[in-house]
């Protein structure tokens, strides 16, 4: 079984649009949307939810106003500025609460509860391209990467149960906890970049992250014709670091056209873009050792 994750560093380079197309092109796979913060793959795949699970992670502090005697020790000790005085005593701001339990442990009046935090939902769904494991964090919730790990585990178990040899994941932008969790156990990361100063800068950082966690990396340059000079610089970077460049895709409004129709770009009539994308997918299968 192989796990392939599509990442980017910079947001908006086309991860989700390309992952959707790869989900169409790949034979047997379990699809996974690991961008649990702002998931978009479902907008292309129109999943039918078959299973819904609650996601709880960590805890948050709640001050019982009746037991609180207003000593303020909690506010003094809180390192996250989460406890403020209101008219009636002290109250915890759930947006700032880190769930560290310090206030709970030190409150002389034992006035602080510490319930589990309900952070979102996750789903196993059916789509026209196969099963999709996905989630939605409640807006504003903490994104430690735990939900990402839950989804990966589910996708792997589903792959094992159905004898499927590929888990294909849409990743999150950035280099923080969710991306780090996404890389865990992945056989290949494919970074989608764009030939802009931000695109190259962020590619270098996400590549350094992959190196740090010893994840194999290949690159796709999207919208390459926006700046051929920058595209050439990215090629040089990839060559120097031995990252295979799988494709150079032109900037094509077809991607948005497909998105608006709720389709992936390879479902539209064939184009230069879709042909180049098909070749990129074959190279990915080869690199990942999928033997197809």
């Amino acid at each position: 079984m192989r796990e392939i994750i599509i990442i980017s560093g910079k947001g908006g380079t086309g991860k989700t649009s390309l992952t959707g197309a790869f989900a169409h092109l790949a034979a047997d796979k379990i699809i996974c949307d690991l961008d649990v913060d702002a998931p978009d793959l479902h907008l292309l795949l129109q999943p039918t939810k078959e299973r819904l699970e609650e996601f709880y992670v960590g805890h948050e502090a709640e001050i019982d106003a009746e037991k609180c005697d207003g000593c303020g020790l909690c506010a003094t000790m809180c390192q996250f500025g989460a406890i403020r005085e209101n008219g009636a005593g002290f109250a915890v701001d759930p947006v700032r609460c880190e769930g560290c339990k310090v206030c709970v442990a030190f409150c002389p009046a034992a006035a602080i509860r510490f319930p589990e935090r309900h952070c979102g939902h996750w789903y196993v769904s059916a789509t026209r391209f196969g099963p999709l494991v996905h989630a939605q964090l409640f807006p504003g919730a903490e994104n430690s990467g735990r939900l990402v790990m839950v989804l990966k585990q589910q996708a792997r178990e589903l792959a094992k149960a159905r004898g499927v040899d590929l888990v294909l994941c849409d990743g999150a932008p950035g280099i923080g906890c969710p991306v780090i969790s996404s890389l865990s156990g992945a056989h290949l990361a494919v970074a989608v970049t764009e030939p802009t100063p931000s695109g190259r800068h962020d590619l270098e950082r996400v590549a350094a992250l992959c190196r740090h966690f010893q994840t194999a990396l290949a690159v796709i340059i999207n919208k390459y014709d926006l700046n051929p000079d920058e595209t050439a610089r990215i090629e040089v970077f990839c060559h120097d670091e031995s990252y295979p460049v799988l494709a150079q895709l032109p900037h094509d409004p077809l991607v948005t056209t497909a998105m608006i129709q709720g389709l992936v770009v390879t479902e539209l009539p064939e184009s230069d873009f879709s042909r180049e994308l098909g070749q990129a997918w074959s190279r990915i299968e080869e690199l990942a050792g999928l033997g197809r």
């Binding site: 908006g12 702002a38 978009d40 560290c100 310090v102 932008p173 800068h201 966690f213 900037h251």
Partner: protein, 293 residues
């Protein structure tokens, strides 16, 4: 006044808008890059860096001679950053959230403050625009601790200059994005009128509305996609403060590192108008007084 430029979806144009606004701003202004995972603002503002420092957070250090292995620290820690079992005490500094609980609860005073490197904070000047940015160390999982330290320096700098700040926030709607916008005076949500843009914009609206700040929208790449975003903004009473047209020439200028407000007089006018509308949104009483004066 602190203006936070945020979005749900990545790549909609936060940095583009932040750099352009800072460049045409009237009065003292500081461009602040709080997208510490992938900071890009410096690529457009091109500041001369005057200084930088490594930022650290407090993690526990054990003086094992004093430790009785009572396990109170391990029992309290919600993040498994300190673990006690048998006659062993072991710390995992990368898991620590810096709450200080273990250090405070230790009955033997065997724990003291050690450090974990978070990343780098740098500051400088880009022509008339001040500059402040955080850059997360590769492998550091959490951005909020570094963001808090950048914000602390921001407060110091604003206290000294008395000007405004424009914050380039990270994408998304979870802890890093919330951290970037929660101490601002006004939030600008940048989006594109595509299905992904609209969906993530709705998430951002849900995430940030409880913060109770005045919010406005900027539609980038207007003309691409459909009109669902306009209907949503109207439904929620969210003012659209600017529209930047979808234009390949703009995309190519951006791809060359140009600040969009400097590309044409038409584009500059869009950002000048945006600046004035942000001021009105943040301080509506002041503009009403000015109108009556």
């Amino acid at each position: 006044m602190i203006v936070a430029i945020a979005s749900g979806k990545g790549g909609t144009g936060k940095t583009t808008v932040a750099a352009s606004l800072a460049t045409i701003w009237a009065g003292e202004v500081l461009g602040v890059d709080l997208d510490v995972e992938e900071p890009n603002l410096h690529l457009f503002l091109r500041p001369a860096i005057a200084g930088s420092e490594m930022a650290h957070m407090t993690v526990p250090t054990v003086a094992e001679a004093q430790c009785t292995y009572c396990g109170a620290c391990s029992e309290l820690c919600q993040f498994k950053a300190i673990s006690v079992f048998n006659q062993v005490i072991i710390t995992f500094p990368e898991m620590c959230h810096g709450c200080g609980g273990c250090i405070a609860i230790c009955p033997e005073k065997a724990l003291s403050a050690g450090q974990r490197e978070l990343g780098e904070i740098s500051w400088g000047q880009a022509g008339g625009v001040g500059f402040l940015a955080g850059r997360l160390r590769i492998g550091e999982a959490m951005s909020p601790p570094l963001m808090r330290r950048v914000k602390a320096r921001l407060d110091q700098m604003l206290a000294a200059t008395g000007g405004d700040a424009i914050i380039d926030a990270p994408p998304g709607v979870s802890c890093p994005a919330v951290n970037a916008v929660m101490d601002s005076d006004v939030i600008l949500l940048v989006t594109e009128p595509t299905p992904f843009g609209v969906y993530d914009f709705q998430l951002a609206w849900e995430a940030f509305t409880p913060l109770g700040k005045p919010m406005g929208a900027v539609i980038n790449r207007a003309g691409l996609g459909n009109d669902a975003i306009y209907r949503f903004c109207q439904e929620k009473g969210l003012p659209i403060l600017a529209e930047i047209p979808y234009d390949r020439a703009i995309a190519e200028a951006y791809a060359r590192g140009r600040i969009i407000a400097t590309v044409s007089t038409g584009l500059k006018a869009i950002f000048v108008s945006l600046r004035d509308q942000i001021r009105d949104l943040a301080q509506p009483n002041r503009s009403r007084e000015a109108a009556h004066a």
